[in-house]
Every structure is written in C-alpha cells, then in structure tokens.
Amino acid sequence: MLLENPSSYLAFAESTMTETEFLSEITRRTGCGLLLDVNNVFVSATNLGTSAEAYLDAFPLSHVGEIHLGGHHEDADDHGDPLLIDSHDHDIAEPVWTLLERTLAHTGPLPVLIERDDDIPPWPELEREAARAGRALSQLHKVAAE
C-alpha cells in the first residue's frame, strides 16, 4: 500500500507535528510505502505559505513507490492570497515539473502518473505531458550511464 500526501487548503493551529514527520512515522510503524504527489506538494506549500523544496527535503523519499503529477486551479482566499485547488483539470504547472525533476534526482526512476479527470484536452496535449515526464525519467538513465 502506498499512502499519498494530500493537498491542503488550511492548517490546524494545534498541530504539533509536520506532515512529513507524520508520514515518516506512519511508514516506520506500518511498513507501508508512500505515493508522492508533486502537484499536491506545490499546492499545499503555496496555500500555506511554506516551502515546497523544504517539504521535499524532509520527505522520506526512500519509501516512495510512485509519483503523481496533475494540474491545479488557481483561486484566491479571503485576503486575495493565492488558493490553489487540486482539480485535475489543467495542464501541469511549470514549477511542478521543476519539483518532479528535483525529486527524481534524489529517488532515481519511479513510476510517474499524470492525473487528469476533467476538461480533458486533445490527445496530443496529453501526450506532450506524458512525453515530458518520460524525458525526465530517461534523462536519469543517461546521467546514471555517464
């Protein structure tokens, strides 16, 4: 079983543990693996004013068995700050691709799945995203071979 990191839209004031600590502890106690949704990392970090890179640095990457990518919808909260919604109805955002490459550089090749549930574009557009994820993976093989 792979447990996935969520998209967060708010934080609990009373929380005494970070999400990465929580997920690490779950893998330690149960032996389950993790599914890393890189778009969710970006969505949560933007929504809560934290750093996606710091989140990934603290994430127990050795337990990741699969990576998800997806598009999000851009909205705003009561204060006009960006509120990203994990809607699976857009192209993958550029910073999310950067986070993917950053993650793969640490983990090595892993299965990557693109989530797209709504507002599905013509096939060539989806294929371009799949090919880009494929290139990010084959790039690793090249680096490893050199």
Partner: protein
C-alpha cells in the same frame, strides 16, 4: 484553540455554520473561505457517487432535481462507512419518505434495484455448480437437496413494474411499462449484474432457499403462494445466472 473531528464534520456538511476555530491559513489568520474547499469537495464527491450509482433515478428526476435532492440527502445522510461503493444505502428510503416526491411511489423500488445492482457487482466471487450437477441427482432425492446461492444474487419484490421501469430507462427502445407488480432477480453470470423478471412464485422459492429450506420444501412454499409456480423456469434462471454455488444432499 482546538478543533475536534465532530465540529469539523458538522461544519463540512452545514454551510450555515462558521468554519471551526483553530483552522488557519498557515500564516496565523483564520481559515475563513478556505474551509469551503472541503465543503465543496465532500458535496461534489458524494453527489458523483449518487449520480454514478443511481442513473435511472437521475433520469427519472432530471439532472437539476437530482442534484438538488442529492444535496439534501448527503447532508442528512453522510457516509457511515469509509467504503464509498456502499454510499447510498439510505437513498431508497429517503426517496420514499421525501414529501415532495410522494407522488412518485415507485422511486424507492427503482433506487433499491440500482443499489442491489451495485451490491451485486461488488459481491464476492463464487464458483457456480455445473448444470449437470442437478441432473446427476437421483430424482427421488431431488426434494432433499439444499442449494446455496451466490453472494452476488439479489432479490427485489415490487408492487410496481420494477423491471420494466428500469429497462425502459436503461435500454433504448424497450417498451413503455404497463401497470403490474414485478419481482426482480439480479444475478452476475460473468462480470456485470443482470436484472431479470422472476416468474410468479419465484421470489417465494428463492426466499425459502435462502432461509435454508430444502428444494422440496421451497417448491411447496412457492406453490402455496402461486399454484402455477414453474420450478424449471426459475431453476433455469438461477443456472444461467450462475447463481447456484452448491447443491448438497
């Protein structure tokens, strides 16, 4: 300030409540409208379960009415199981008791059939007996046979033309239903559940088998209710539906 799960759940289902305290935007300010994302996700998710699970009810009520009624239902009947394929068990009774729909008496039975089809789909696999198994039993012992039915089998009894209403709204060109009572048998011969009309007495017969009666006793039970009960027709339905999984003496 802390927020407990009950408060969180109640506020998710009731937009007239303020977002619970103790929820922030990560920068120390109250979460405010951010909580609406969760409200929306829950309502949309559960509505989609109902739309997928009750396509005939959706067709009968129309898209707009169905969405509005789903909104009322999901707030009165939040999921009681984390397993979403079970969501909607309470929908048939809700439709029956929902005053604005009181004039559509058949909705309960149609919704119950759609739920039965879904439960049948997710029921455990079981290996059916071969038809020859029954032929191998000496005729004088047939009455003593005990049949076990497949977990995917479902039985519905209705004072409405239940199968015809379902089929008319599911299969292109199926004739318009005429007033009559229909019992419906759902079996799952391969991967998809298949509803069929049960001949008269069939429901009594199957109910008796499910209660553990022998084949002979079940036939008698059916004949009391329906003297014209046709055993071979009902056995043929059960066998073709691969719904008999053991036959023991």
């Amino acid at each position: 300030m802390t927020v407990n799960q009950t408060q969180f759940r109640e506020a998710v289902f009731d937009a007239s409540l303020a977002a619970p305290g103790g929820l922030t935007d990560g920068r120390g300010r109250a979460a405010g409208a951010r909580f609406d994302v969760y409200r929306n996700n829950v309502a949309v998710g559960l509505t989609e379960v109902l739309q997928t699970g009750f396509p005939v009810i959706r067709k009968l009520l129309g898209e707009e009415n169905f969405a509005a009624i789903s909104g009322v239902f999901l707030r009165r009947h939040p999921p009681v199981s984390p397993v979403l394929f079970l969501y909607g068990e309470a929908f048939p009774a809700f439709l029956r008791d929902f005053e604005p729909l009181a004039h559509l008496g058949y909705l309960h039975d149609v919704a119950a059939l759609e739920m039965a089809i879904r439960r049948s789909y997710h029921a455990a696999d079981a290996t059916p007996i071969a038809a020859e198994r029954l032929a191998d039993i000496p005729p004088e012992q047939l009455g003593e046979l005990r049949l076990t039915l497949a977990p995917a089998l479902r039985l519905l009894r209705s004072p409405w033309p239940l199968y015809d209403i379902w089929a008319y709204n599911t299969h292109e060109g199926y004739p318009k239903p005429a007033a009559k009572a229909q019992d419906v048998l759902v079996t799952r011969p391969e991967f998809d559940p298949e509803p069929q009309v049960l001949p008269v007495g069939g429901a009594e017969f199957i109910t008796a088998l499910q209660a553990g009666q022998t084949l002979g006793a079940a036939v008698e039970t059916a004949q009391v209710q329906a003297p014209e009960f046709d055993l071979s027709a009902v056995l043929a339905l059960l066998l073709s539906g691969r719904a008999i999984i053991s036959a023991e003496l």
